[in-house]
């Protein structure tokens, strides 16, 4: 039985209300912006990178609870990780929210709160937006990315 409370878990609501690392980094090494035209979610990701390690990460933007909480939790999850580790985390995250099979949440830590998203296909884009934008920043793409 689909329950909307599986989607809006306490941790998600908490990160939506009090986002972590929601700030701009003036001297960021990489910046990328993404948007979800369907609902108007916007996220900009700022990165400080040293020796291929994310030494600081933050975001700014606005949008639905899923997109903003996902951005917040993304920043806390990739802080201190190498770009390869961050990519790997995104792959697992993506498999959990949109994969063909009910993925396991192992190694995802707090990101497991997004496991309910897979029951709401229209909201997968919201959950993925910050991660797509992170990837764009890591790849140093300068053009805004879109989930459409």
């Amino acid at each position: 039985m689909l329950d909307v409370r599986d989607l809006y878990q306490q941790t998600i609501l908490d990160h939506n209300r009090s986002p972590r690392n929601r700030r701009e980094i003036d001297d960021a090494d990489r910046v990328a912006s993404g948007n979800n035209p369907l609902c108007g979610d916007k996220v900009t990701v700022y990165l400080k990178i040293k020796d291929d390690v994310i030494t600081d990460v933050s975001f700014s933007g606005s949008g639905c609870a899923i997109s903003q909480a996902s951005a917040s939790l993304m920043t806390t999850s990739v802080m201190g990780k190498s770009s390869a580790e961050a990519e790997q985390l995104f792959a697992r995250f993506h498999a959990m929210v949109a994969g063909e099979h009910q993925g396991d949440c192992e190694g995802l830590g707090k990101l497991a709160v997004f496991s309910g998203v897979r029951q709401f296909p229209a909201r997968v884009k919201c959950a993925n937006l910050a991660w797509h934008t992170l990837r764009a920043a890591l790849e140093a793409e300068t053009k805004p990315i879109s989930t459409e």
Binding site: V4, L7, C39, G40, G63, C64, A65, I66, R123
Partner: protein, 422 residues
């Protein structure tokens, strides 16, 4: 046709709508969404179809299907007659003087693009201006931007105030010798505002400027009389007025259509073709290249019959009752802010809620079976004007009930509980 007997049973001009009987005409309204009755409040996106229209579509496909205007055999003659009868029904629906002024297109978007491409071609240049309004749907903005890009003309935008009402004095100031076309939305899809288009057409006519009206959101709510409005073009979509998808109408004054070059080339729209040159059929065939959506057009004809059978008086009374009840009930939730408060409005309500993004609202009320639209409604400039990223929108049709308004409002209150805000 069995329409006539159906017509009388729903209402008489002075009576109110027999809502239960009307709902029985729309089979999809019996849908259960996760065990809860569907509450369909996204009529401005697309409306549901009465059985009368569904039956007419299937009857065409089962018994009459064939191509039109070319066969000399029985079926083709029947299909052609049904298609042309549909054109006549639409003519009467819009009170257009002549059926040749009714061009079948895919929908409002194609109708506007047709005018932008065909009327616009070669007629506009640098220094010329096209006037639209601040509350246009993207489909009445982008085709004109494309035309401006190719012709060097300039797009001018008539502003609105904080209630979502167009400022007529400002509109008037934009009109002048440079104005080559005015394109206005009759009823706003995101605010519900009913614009005083008759007056606005008359102002444009003082400068002898042709006017296109985007009637996509007006046709489901009110009778349209293109002669009374005085417009040169009127565009509408079948699927928003309880008809099939893929079919729409461009009304164009015969004099205008006659002077316009073809929109697309192909079969049906020609008089003769040689490798050296082709000559074109007169309107409306000139603008109907290729095999049209024959079933859709015939379905739209049936839709017109159905709507006229219900009667606009009872439709409008019921919808205005739904609108005022919805506005009252939504105002009992203090965190809700209604976007748009024009005096004259259709049964469309856009709103935002403090602390919950519209998209989250949409997902949560869906759990209660309530279908509303969330987002920018293809009116990003309207969202920018009101300083909101998105709104939730409940849009009512004559088959909606006051009880459904209650379900919506309770679902919105539930959203506050899910978000831990109460």
């Amino acid at each position: 046709m069995t329409v006539v007997s159906q017509k009388a049973s729903r209402s008489s001009p002075d009576s109110s709508l027999d809502i239960q009987r009307v709902r029985e005409d729309f089979p999809i309204l019996n849908t259960l969404v996760r065990g809860k009755p569907l509450v369909y409040l996204d009529n401005a996106a697309t409306s549901q179809k009465p059985r009368h229209v569904i039956d007419r579509l299937s009857r065409f496909l089962l018994e009459e299907n064939s191509n039109i205007h070319r066969g000399v055999y029985y079926l083709s003659e029947r299909a052609t007659a049904a298609y042309e009868l549909a054109r006549e029904k639409v003519r009467s629906f819009l009170n257009a003087p002549d059926p040749r002024e009714i061009v079948f297109v895919r929908g409002t978007t194609e109708a506007i693009n047709l005018v932008a491409c065909s009327f616009g071609r070669g007629r506009l240049g640098p220094g010329d201006e096209i006037v639209i309004s601040a509350m246009e749907h993207h489909s009445n903005i982008v085709p004109w931007q494309l035309l401006c890009e190719s012709s060097g003309a300039t797009l001018r935008v008539a502003p609105m105030d904080g209630t979502g009402t167009l400022l007529l004095d400002e509109y008037k100031k934009l009109l002048g010798a440079k104005t080559k076309l005015v394109a206005l939305v009759h009823v706003s899809n995101s605010l519900g505002t009913v614009n005083p288009v008759k007056e606005m057409v008359a102002l444009a006519k003082e400068w002898e400027v042709p006017v296109l009206l985007d009637g996509a959101q007006a046709a489901p709510h009110q009778p349209i009389d293109v002669q009374d409005l005085g417009c040169d073009f009127y565009a509408l979509s079948g699927h928003k007025m309880f008809g099939p998808t893929g079919i729409g109408v461009l009304y164009g004054r015969l004099e205008m259509l006659g002077g316009m070059p073809p929109y697309q080339g192909g079969g049906e729209m020609i008089r003769s073709v040689t490798f050296e040159r082709s000559t074109y059929a007169p309107p409306p065939a000139k603008f109907e290249a290729g095999t049209p959506d024959i079933a859709g057009a015939i379905g739209l004809g049936a839709t017109v019959d159905y709507l006229e059978g219900i009667g606009w008086g009872s439709i409008q009374r019921h919808e205005q009752r739904l609108l005022s009840y919805a506005l009252d009930q939504l105002s009992t939730v203090p965190e809700i802010r209604i976007i748009g408060s024009a005096t004259s409005r259709a049964s469309v309500v856009s709103f935002v809620m403090d602390g919950i993004h519209a998209h989250d609202l949409g997902t949560i009320v869906d759990q209660e079976g309530v279908a509303i639209r969330t987002g920018h409604h293809c009116t990003q400039p309207v969202m920018d004007f009101f300083g909101v990223p998105a709104t939730a929108r409940a849009s009512f049709a004559f088959y909606n009930t006051l009880e459904e308004v209650d379900v919506l409002v309770n679902a919105l209150k539930e959203a506050r509980r899910v978000f831990g805000l109460c």
